[in-house]
Amino acid sequence: MEASREIYWNVGHSAATLVPMYLLAIGAMGVLVYGFLQRMKVYRQGKELVRWDEMGKRLGTAIKNTILQDKVIRVRWPGLAHGIFFWGFGLLFIGTLLIMAQADFLDLLFGVKFLKGTFYKLFSLTLDIAGLAAIVMMGSLLVRRFIFRPQGLETTRDDVIMHGLLFVILVTGFVIEGARMAVTELGTPLSYWSPVGLVFAKAMSGLGEEGLRNLHKVTWWFHLFMAIGFICSIPFTKFRHIFTTSANMFFADRGPRGKLTTMDMEDEDAESFGAAALSDLSWKDIFDADACTRCKRCQDRCPAWNTDKPLSPMKVINQLGEIAFASPDAELIETVGKDVLWSCTTCFACQDICPAGIEHVGKIVEMRRNMVLMEGEFPGDEVMAAMEATEVNGNPLGIGYASRGDWAEKLELKTLAEDPEVDILYFVGCYASFDKRNIAVATSFIQLCRAAGVRVGILGKQEKCCGEPMRKMGNEYLYQTMATENIETMNGYGVKKVVTSCPHCYNTLSKDYRDLGFEAEVVSYVNFLEELVASGRLKIESRDLSCTYHDSCYLGRHNGIYQAPRNLIKAAGGRIVEMEKSFDQSFCCSAGGGRILAEEKLGSRINIKRVEMASATEAPTLVSNCPFCLTMFEDGIKGAELEEKLVPRDIAEILAERIVE
């Protein structure tokens, strides 16, 4: 006799079973669809945004992300617990569909059966293991949430429903199997192919056939009702993430990474700028709130949250959702809170780790745009002063623009105005032009270029701030003013290739400037130098250096540049002792998001926290690749009283000391 089982055993395959079952199923589908249609009305309160171009690629990404659970598993535990649970439950779902397909269609209408023989044995074994895995994982998630209670993890009514419902469905599934096996399979070799069911069957074997059949029937219908209940609850509980989160993989921003929308300054009809009300956000912004499962991975990594500032990226997203669904006329900025919005350093840790593809940073900047452009508000007078200084002198430090190129006098470096025949334009940036500590980095870079025989020029007093800190603070108008001037100047010289040692300038010129007509190649100095070293044009001697390395947010998470700087450090003889939070988990220095312009008034100092992390590696040198980081580390090391133990240096300085003539 071929291995198989009677589908609908004991329950009966008649209309008395099928009709209510399918009616309920159709009803549940209806509720599901209706629930989501209601939610779509709320999403539609937001502005238009096209996120269905390149449909094939989007679909591929969504399917891959969902099935492989790759973003979820990035955080091993509890990511893997969810992943295994998901696969387990997924297999059970497929298994149920296969059973329905055979029992209610292929067998019923065409007499075709495939759940038999070896296939059936493997089928049952797989589902048993899947079910067990799902229960164990669900159990562990339950323990984590309700017993270990990780800090910052909120548990709501939804969570109780979800854990309870799923647990009940899974366990009753095995009760049903066990009851059936207790009557039909105990003592047979087939039973070993359903090991978990066998355990349940053995445990129930004392009930007698009538008892077992009753138990089986009742539990079968109960399990059906639970499953129907589960489907109906999807739009109304956090279960909706099954659809919304996977859909968010489809609707994801396909890049360039972290790029903000470029406002149209010519639009004379525009009456409002930035986001003050729900209707100023896009539908995707509202949809993001629905995709959020409150896993708090963003919050865990937020440098502001971790230094007692009121910003939690998760809370911002949740609040936007609450507004959208409950009080759509609410004032966004008042509700979220100005201190919350100004605390963000745009480090991207939230958006990078989010397994639901939520875009936190753009929303914060949109609200900042409203505060700055519509109200003329800033986090402090010092920021307004920096904006005005930039308007007058093209740099937030308020130093006379005419002396921007003075740092290069000693090097006899020519500006493009003096000699436009260069291999690369070195876009220096404000800090490397005016701040003594960072001038040393610019000087080092020039020395390296010359040692490699690269003809390099600068714009000197014609260079203006790239506009990045202003843009991130929300002052889109001032950013575009600076950007257009820079682009006009660079295009005027026919610049083909720009290299910059500031990751903020790099990110802005290579991404943001494209919307304003800048097409030249833009390279980060670490990539540029790595190439020179690798090709042998630049010879660096290896001299021992024990150090730790800080991945800046703007080379790291924003641009994926992790390996090149490490290769350079190794070529220079550096032995890197990595900090716990390195690579994409690097902890911000605090100066991004335009916050280099602002005082840090709330909570504790982010830069001190980071230098303490560096100091914990016991390495005597902290190597970085960004003028903001270098400035923050100089300040932070003094503030943390670590001057004897830690010295901050830039990669360019380390390499320049090792030039082989």
Binding site: E271, V372, L373, M374, M384, N393, G400
Partner: protein, 256 residues
């Protein structure tokens, strides 16, 4: 009600100054320009008064075409209209002739309150405001750090030395000169920047308004010799202290 605020475009004080060819003023090359800082407070106060009373607010500025950029900022802060007195040689005029240009413009217009900065950051003589008031024969209050207006009466606080303030008052028409810290000048919002582009900005040739000669002139402009010239002192602590005290007595008024 009609209001007037007089502003000046000055070089940013962080600029590297050079003496011009004539040796009597600074050269315009390599300078960044901005609104005189004191005038920012004047514009802000004028706009606040305009918002409170619904008055019409005119901003006046004397200088070359270059000053229009600065006037646009005043318009973006809230002034209704601008009057640009076109004068490429404004830097060669003195406080007296500048004041007379303004008085000539204002005399027929019955402004209720005229706001000015208490001095300019470049010339810094602090005379124009009071001179305009004297020419128009209206009361004036200088160095205000507080301003209130109610039914034709001004109540202001003057900032005196040592952080002391004096409460003073007068009735309109009147002129006030504004000190730093009077208020917090607003950052122009984008809609206002865009509206400013469309506001009326008339250019009047200076010859139409300047009927007098300057009564003083700059004979020579130069860099003062650097006090101490970046002196480096090393040695015994006691001797160093004595040396430093001597230098402070000679080079500063601090130990007088």
């Amino acid at each position: 009600m009609n209001l007037l605020v007089c502003i000046k475009q000055v070089p940013d004080m962080e600029s590297k100054f050079k003496i011009d060819a004539a040796g009597t003023w600074y050269d315009n090359a390599d300078l960044a320009w901005r609104m005189n800082e004191y005038d920012e407070y004047a514009v802000e106060q004028a706009v606040q008064l305009k918002e409170k009373t619904g008055a019409d607010l005119t901003v006046l500025c004397i200088g070359s075409d270059r000053v229009k950029e600065t006037m646009k900022k005043a318009l973006a802060m809230g002034c209704d209209r601008g009057v640009h007195v076109a004068d490429d040689a404004s830097s060669r005029k003195d406080s007296f002739s500048i004041a007379s240009i303004i008085a000539e413009f204002a005399k027929s217009k019955s402004f209720d309150v005229i706001f000015t900065g208490m001095q300019s950051q470049d010339r810094g003589s602090g005379q124009v405001g009071v001179l305009v008031a004297e020419m128009l024969d209206i009361p004036s209050i200088t160095t205000i750090v507080d301003f209130a207006f109610d039914g034709g009466k001004i109540a202001a606080k003057r900032e005196l030395e040592g952080g002391v303030k004096a409460s003073v008052g007068c009735t309109t028409p009147a002129l006030v000169t504004c000190q730093l810290g009077l208020n917090t000048p607003r950052y122009p919002t984008l809609p206002n920047i865009m509206k400013a582009k469309k506001k009326e900005l008339l250019s009047v040739p200076v010859a139409d308004l300047c009927k007098v000669e300057a009564v003083s002139e700059t004979s020579t402009l130069y860099f003062p010799e650097k006090k101490g010239g970046g002196l480096i002192l090393e040695g015994d602590v006691g001797e160093l202290a004595d040396k430093l005290i001597k230098i402070l007595k000679e080079k500063t008024a601090v130990l007088a």
